[in-house]
């Protein structure tokens, strides 16, 4: 009985939000660009889901690795144009381009979604902290984002990918030591957090002892793909941090936050319940556009050869094999299929997300302003 009353209360309090979502969906349905974008994305989702059916991998082989067609390899060292056996043709290494395009779809989703997820989490946390607490923390974090933004994304990603040694020795004890040292300053400075100070100091002393006597080091073996993912996430998070910070600052000064503070809400609760939900709209737009942009950058890295492994089923990777004919464009024309079709895949994929993001930007802008 108590539960159903609470449920009713929840439904009532969500009513205006639901109304706004319905309005947003209506506007989306009316916008041709948004619909085309969604259609394209759904198309790629279908391809990704049906990949094992559309391009069956060979048993025992990692489906994400391209497999050379040995029969053709004996015949000629050049790429082969589209035939019934290889619908889009093959590359010089006799990789089936059709297969690469289909399985590359899954890879594109993987790269886009994972990188955006990581960058989003880091960016949102840091941005919120910076904006909410202000002062020195804000200054430091913002200068940090300034620094990363000062470097062109592709260049920084390049530098990170090649500079990351494949095995990073992580000194866990050192990390815990530094973190607890920093936290102890924080806990000591803010009265309400004093209760965490003592346990933290204990951890600090233990890790200090371990660091001096028997430090624990673990090695991370990152695959090339992981390096790309992490590099792109590092390049991407400042954008989110700045955005969230702007939004939090805007909302922080609203009256209802003051009211929440006055009625005794804890800081964390205010952030989660009041501030973050209002930052969703601009975030949604940036996320949609970013997925496309990250896939483009990842493809560029693969094209340059510093992305994933050479046998990987990745769109940019397939096109990178065309690099050899750059100096003799006639060959490039003859082997057009090695770059034309995978490129169309990339363009359409990114186009879908960009159309959706741009349409969202138009739709959500008046809604943001209405507040």
């Amino acid at each position: 009985m108590d539960l159903s009353a609470k449920w009713k209360e929840l439904k009532v309090s969500w009513q205006p939000r639901i109304k706004e979502w319905k309005f947003m969906l209506k506007r989306i349905r009316e916008s041709p660009l948004a619909l085309i974008g969604i259609a394209i994305i759904i198309g790629f989702v279908i391809i990704a889901c049906l990949a094992p059916v559309l391009a069956p991998p060979q048993a025992g082989w990692d489906p994400f690795m391209l497999r050379p067609d040995k029969d053709l390899a004996i015949l000629t060292p050049d790429p082969t144009p589209p035939t019934t056996r290889h619908i889009f043709g093959t590359t010089a290494e006799k990789f089936d381009i059709y297969y690469g395009c289909i399985w590359g779809t899954i890879n594109a989703f993987r790269v886009g979604l994972i990188v955006v997820a990581i960058a989003l989490v880091i960016g949102v946390v840091l941005g919120t902290v910076a904006a909410y607490y202000g002062g020195l923390i804000d200054e430091i974090l913002m200068r940090f984002t300034d620094i990363i933004i000062a470097l062109p994304g592709l260049v920084l990603a390049m530098a990170l990918v090649i500079a990351f040694p494949t095995a990073i020795p992580l000194n866990i004890t050192l990390i815990i030591l530094v973190v607890s040292a920093v936290l102890s300053i924080y806990f000591a400075a803010f009265k309400p957090q004093r209760k965490y100070l003592l346990p933290n100091q204990i951890i600090l002393l233990i890790s200090l002892f371990l660091y001096l006597t028997n430090p624990i080091v673990i090695g991370l073996n990152m695959s090339k793909l992981d390096k790309v993912l992490i590099s792109l996430a590092i390049v991407g998070w400042p954008g989110y941090a700045r955005l969230i910070r702007g939004e939090v600052l805007r909302v922080k000064n609203e009256d209802y936050v003051e009211a929440a503070k006055a009625s005794g809400c804890s800081d964390l609760r205010i952030i989660i319940k009041h501030i973050l939900p209002n930052t969703v709209y601009p975030l949604l737009i940036v996320v949609t556009l970013d997925i496309g942009s990250i896939v483009l950058t990842a493809a560029a890295l693969s094209f340059l050869g510093i992305g994933a492994d050479p046998n990987f089923a990745d769109w940019g990777n397939i096109i990178s094999m065309s690099r050899t004919w750059i100096s003799s464009p006639e060959l490039l024309v003859r082997h057009y299929y090695t770059f034309l079709i995978p490129g169309i895949f990339i363009s359409l994929f990114v186009l879908g997300w960009n159309l959706l993001g741009d349409a969202l930007r138009d739709i959500l802008d008046p809604m943001i302003r209405r507040r």
């Binding site: 660009l33 940090f144 470097l151 062109p152 592709l154 260049v155 770059f339 990114v350």
Partner: protein, 348 residues
């Protein structure tokens, strides 16, 4: 008071800070490079030096000192122009940059103004004719342009215009002209090292024209992809300005449409666009990596791409540092322009 010099001084300090931070970040990545490679900078004949000798030189040069000492040493090196040694191009990074920057400059020289002027013009037109044909066309075309991978568009243009139509060959110049330029006995003096200008200075306008001919395709690629952002920002900024009270007041004064749009609204609308343009131009260095590679232009971008392929970290970092430096300078110029256009800023 609204004094311009004080404002510039404030921005300068902030930017020096960012530069320092960027160098710190780059340095942090530098520390991941094995010291043997870093030692190569101090060796005249790289081939004949064994790894052990390199390590000894590293120790002598203090490359295994504590990190903070290394940072200041590195910083002083950088300020003296020493950016490390590029293993794959067998020369100091600084020299490699000096050799190759003219080609990059030739592309940016044409691409940047085109992006800015086309972007501003189309953005203003799209805003004036909101929801009209030109507005929708601009929007769709610029979204498509923004979605294309630069290497793909480059390959496409290269294959059609170079491979199929044979209008132009890859690279910054025709091969015969290149040989002519490099031949010491041909009498060609490289005054500025930029072929575009040297052609005219040497009485060979055909070389200048040839440079332009070769630069057309890369410039098209860069402009197509980057103009979208500028159009969008200009459009929304202009729309906002057109709805502002002062536009209504200008109309109420009896001013004609042209004056209201171009004199009143546009000047205010340009303010955010100026900031964006500066950053866009500075960011071109990122896109150039791909474009120069595809067209074999031989500039900094292509060099950085090859360096990355060879895992040559000093070279890539040198490029990154240069990009950041240019970004910071562009920011400063933009800030000054901004204060010039908008008198309100000088007060802040």
């Amino acid at each position: 008071m609204t004094s311009l010099p004080a404002y510039i001084a404030r921005r300068l300090i902030l930017l020096i800070f960012v530069l320092l931070g960027v160098s710190l970040l780059i340095f942090a990545i530098t520390t991941l490079i094995p010291i043997e490679i870093r030692a190569m900078l101090y060796v005249r004949n790289v081939q004949h030096t064994s790894p052990q000798q390199l390590i000894e030189i590293a120790k002598k040069r203090g490359l295994d000192r504590p990190i903070h000492e290394q940072f200041f040493a590195w910083l002083s090196e950088v300020l003296q122009g020493n950016l490390g040694f590029s293993k794959f191009s067998q020369q100091p990074v600084a020299d490699a940059i000096l050799e190759r920057w003219p080609y990059t400059f030739e592309i940016v020289l044409f691409a940047a103004p085109l992006i800015i002027f086309i972007g501003i013009f189309l953005g203003v037109q799209a805003a004036i004719h909101k929801d009209g044909l030109i507005d929708h066309a601009c929007r769709v075309l610029s979204i498509i342009g923004w979605s294309l991978p630069s290497f793909w568009l480059g390959l496409l243009l290269l294959s059609v215009f170079s491979g199929y139509l044979h209008w132009v060959s890859p690279g910054p110049l025709d091969t015969n002209l290149l040989q002519f330029r490099n031949n010491p006995s041909s009498g060609f003096i490289r005054y500025t090292k930029i072929d575009l200008f040297d052609g005219l200075l040497n009485g060979r306008p055909d070389i200048t024209l040839n440079v332009i001919q070769h630069a057309i395709l890369p410039v098209i690629v860069i402009v197509t992809i980057n103009v979208a952002l500028l159009i969008r920002v200009m459009r929304s900024s202009m729309l906002e300005a057109l709805n502002k009270p002062y536009t209504v007041a200008a109309r109420a004064k009896g001013l004609d449409d042209k004056t209201v749009i171009y004199k009143h609204a546009r000047r205010n609308a340009l303010i955010p666009v100026v900031t964006l343009s500066g950053m866009l131009v500075a960011g071109l260095l990122g896109g150039l990596v791909i474009t120069e590679t595809v067209f074999g232009f031989g500039g900094l971008g292509q060099w950085a791409a090859n360096a990355a392929l060879q895992l040559d970290v000093p070279a890539v970092l040198g490029y990154a540092l240069l990009s950041a430096f240019l970004f910071v300078i562009a920011n400063l110029i933009v800030d000054i322009l901004y204060a010039y256009i908008d008198p309100r800023i000088r007060l802040v």
